[in-house]
Symmetry: D2
Subunit: 336 residues, 4 copies
């Protein structure tokens, strides 16, 4: 309560708690602090909003995390997501690589073979592309999915690809092994529920209008709550403020450490979108691995200058090979 | 180009432009500047991405706006959206008011009558609610839409209500007069296309992961491009940075002036979400009107302390009546 | 405390409080909440930091505002700062106007006469300029101060001008009536203390690395604590995030309402820096007045295209005259 | 220029360039692009501001970097700052460690010995503390400097400590080997000039109201321009936006890669302030090293729970020892 809150104002808050069946604990000397007791999970956010609007209430502080299924408290052991025999979150470093967009058979297959040879585990490639402008290339759609399936057949690598529309979840799930939710769709609840219902492995990028770690966990919760435990998180950079132009985003490497503390879900890092500049991708990939990431997702293209991309720059095959080697040198030093 | 770019590097950029059929203009003394000539609208973003990745390219600067249908250059006269005989954008101030969520018949109808009596023109009320947590109240759904239809029948006020899922657009369009796209869905392109195809009036809130005015215009462009010209914009506050807790968002009042300069679309201001605190709503409503807003959207509830809300606080009937009076006193002074 | 905190961990926190002479109040069922009782003002921040680092502590929530002298609780009546007979904060709208930089006698005097004729009350003009680059014009220094003194003598208008260096406070205080602390120096504590000791009226712009309203109040507190009660606040826009280029900053009009609620100090609004674009200054000036600002500060120049400016664009005399008229029409409608 | 700019408007811009003695290059088909030729370094920012205010000017794009002395173009080899025989920037990893604040002889000396034993190269410790609130501990001042000198005498380690006030530069330079400019003072130009004049090694933290990398380089330029080449940069985290509470700041690890590309100055990373949570410091320290940082600066305290800190949490001696070992394991893998 605010300093100088009257007894009536305090009683008013207590009454509100009681009429909902909750207890109230009063403490504080200079100012009054009212503890709400027994509040139901489903009622927490609503109650907080309502209390915040009562007279002389200074602030409402939730004392329990708002997410549960995604929390380490609820599930102390790390989750391992199995994808075609690959174990993500189990201690190995998983590398997902491939072009931003599927452009042609030749482009996709050559990249798939090259990244596999360099040691990548999963092939990425966009068939449906979220584009800031309606005039930009929107992806090959179903044809792109067909090409991804062919690349999988040839190389044996599982596929990760973005889904944009709840309508397309069923279609995408037929072709791809991991459904990616892009940063702009993090809080697209209709889509989260739909991928949740699919039971398919999901890669949930951090983003949305308020890209806090708690909000990200709550979005994972939307998927988990549909009974789908195969959720992986992906850090891909936060918007930069105040006119920064050196990078497109700020990759939040600390998210790796935070997620490992509060959640059991695996975390993958995307330095390609995270910086938006190819030149910085290898340094950031090493940083992510050194911080303990469970995996990387990297854009690779046979001819980066001609890549159809949307905010990230691709590495060529040679650069990607060098990145894989530098990352592999680090790994054994991190054990302990 | 960067300082010290070689002739080969410059030629390489020029060759890239030529192989796409564009011209190139070279200028600059200390550094070389290459102008791309004749670039097609649909190719701009892709070309910019690709040029940015070429060796020795320092930066790529688009010289033309990326949106067209939403621009004042394309359509110099202000757009007037007609909703049930109401003209939005035609010079009058339109006020949309009502509860955050439809909760019950009694709550909705009493609010509808009260805001109408105070001078509001459109009734707002959420039937489908986007909630940060899956454990929060998600709205009454179709039952909420039925109640909104009843309120319209009783009061004659047209209805604005949010749609979250492309699946629901057809259903919502049957019951409501203006389809609202919430801030978290600004860049939900599947949803934008669907409301575009509906032809129904749309209220597009500013938001998303990169809530710049250009991105907002490009989202309007997604709707306009489907042939739906009935688009209204809504400023509802930007995320605050660096630990601010005094307000939930920063209402960007300057957006009113910017939008009126660069676009022909009407702009509505939402001070309820824009500040998140009921106490500041009247001052911000006056500010928006003084800046030239075409309308306001305000949360009103018979008992604000019990409102099921999501980040905004409601005014009670008396407070709303006082707000309407203070706003009406300002209007005649703004003419000219 | 975190969920699952052990009795030992809880006792450890309580012991820490006791060894500093404070009481402890325990509450909570699912999680433990420990209230610290009797904490001294000077110890609050330090204690909070220390408690936050104890094992199993989830978060530390200060229940009292960290500022006192600047708070309305401490001083319920609005502060009126008297400057040469002018009363700022007393209900009248005060307008400060003039060039960004003092450039020449002719430029300053013509502007001073023009803004006075249009109704401005205070003349602004920079003699010491904070410039992002060391290669930019740094102001006329002492010569600029001399010109400001001459302009005051001719027009009778008091002067506001920025001071950058604690060394210069004494010098500036001889020439100018209001010492301005710029946004980049909001948290320059050496400078705040020095203007505090001077006893001179101070205009404190909001800014710094974490420009929250609480931090701004704490900076005012630095000045007030030196015994100088003549503090005015100035809102001048927050950095825009995520690549916005339509305006340079986002003017936080809601700050006017927030400051009037929590503090007794007058608040002036600077739409020139707040938007960075001359075209939007009149709309934002009207918005600030409608929100209840105690004053405006506006950049005006005889030939705006030739102004030596730093992030704001100036109005010419005619535009400023029109702004004054539109603002004056609003004022009577805001009474009560 | 904007689309539809008239010949008169274009001529007006060209005339403005000519009257300042610059050339003009016209290009563009759909829109006109005017290149300014021969612009003097000292005139760039001013010219850009002025051109931006001319009629029909759409935007002004500087084609050359605004900093020079700090740029790699100007000085291709990495700068090595020598401090008491220690070479910073020369390929070795330098570790600065010690308490946030100097609190007592016992606290400082025990820490100095401990961090030296663990392999640290430089002792940190604050004697003058910038505190958000005037009620917080402001440091031991001159007594703190004396204790730092004693610690140096005992351990042989050079000292880094923050200076807040231009008045104190001379005093501090007598006692400490590296003058630290804190994040809140990055754009305190009076202070930058004073440490520049001192010739003393400087550690310049990134911060200020607009903490872009370009602004940081321009602040380094203020120091370099006084003839002081001993400048080191320090990345210490950016403010988090939109309500994040998991960390205090977002450590921008990509700054390491960006600085190494555009500048010759060494870059040190501060994970203690960069995350604000002790638990995340080791992971971020490893990440910074993996990204190529020239050094680390870490807060260490004999009893972290009792540390007088300001936004960072300290490691204890054992945690710091473990961090040093994990970092040392990484280093050999990063060669080449």
């Amino acid at each position: 309560m605010r300093k100088g809150a009257t007894k009536d104002q305090i009683d008013h808050v207590v009454d509100r708690l009681r009429e909902r069946g909750y207890g109230a604990n009063l403490s504080g000397t200079e100012v009054s602090v009212i503890g709400a007791i027994g509040v139901l999970d489903d009622d927490k956010a609503r109650l907080a909003e309502q209390l915040a609007s009562l007279p002389a209430v200074d602030k409402v502080v939730p004392v329990l995390k708002r997410f549960k299924l995604a929390s380490r408290e609820f599930h102390p052991d790390p989750t391992i997501v199995e994808v075609d025999g690959l174990r993500i979150g189990g201690g190995d470093l998983i590398v997902m690589a491939g072009p931003c967009s599927v452009e042609s058979e030749q482009q996709l297959l050559s990249t798939a073979h090259a990244v596999k040879a360099a040691g990548a585990n999963v092939l990425r490639g966009g068939a449906f592309k979220p584009r800031t402008s309606p005039y930009d290339f929107q992806g090959m759609g179903r044809d792109g999915l067909e090409l991804l399936a062919r690349a999988k057949k040839e190389t044996g690598m599982p596929i990760v690809s973005e889904v944009l529309d709840p309508h397309d979840v069923e279609l995408c799930a037929k072709y791809v092994d991991i459904l990616q939710i892009g940063a702009r769709n993090m809080q697209n609840y209709a889509l989260l529920r739909e991928v949740g219902r699919s039971g398919h492995p999901v890669l949930l990028k951090r983003g949305g209008m308020y890209p806090t770690i708690e909000n990200w966990m709550l979005c994972a919760e939307y998927i988990l709550r549909e009974g789908n435990r195969n959720v992986m998180l992906c850090e891909r950079g936060l918007p930069v403020g105040g006119g920064e132009t050196a990078t497109r985003n700020v990759l939040d490497v600390s998210a790796v450490a935070v997620v490992h503390e509060i959640s059991h879900l695996p975390i993958i890092v995307d330095p390609s979108h995270g910086t938006g500049k190819a030149a910085y991708v290898p340094a950031l990939a090493r940083a992510a691995v050194a911080a303990g990431a469970d995996g990387l997702i990297i854009e690779v293209h046979p001819d980066p200058e001609r890549a159809l991309s949307d905010g990230a720059q691709s590495l060529d095959f040679e650069q990607f090979g060098a990145l894989m080697k530098s990352v592999e040198r680090l790994r054994p030093q991190l054990a302990d």
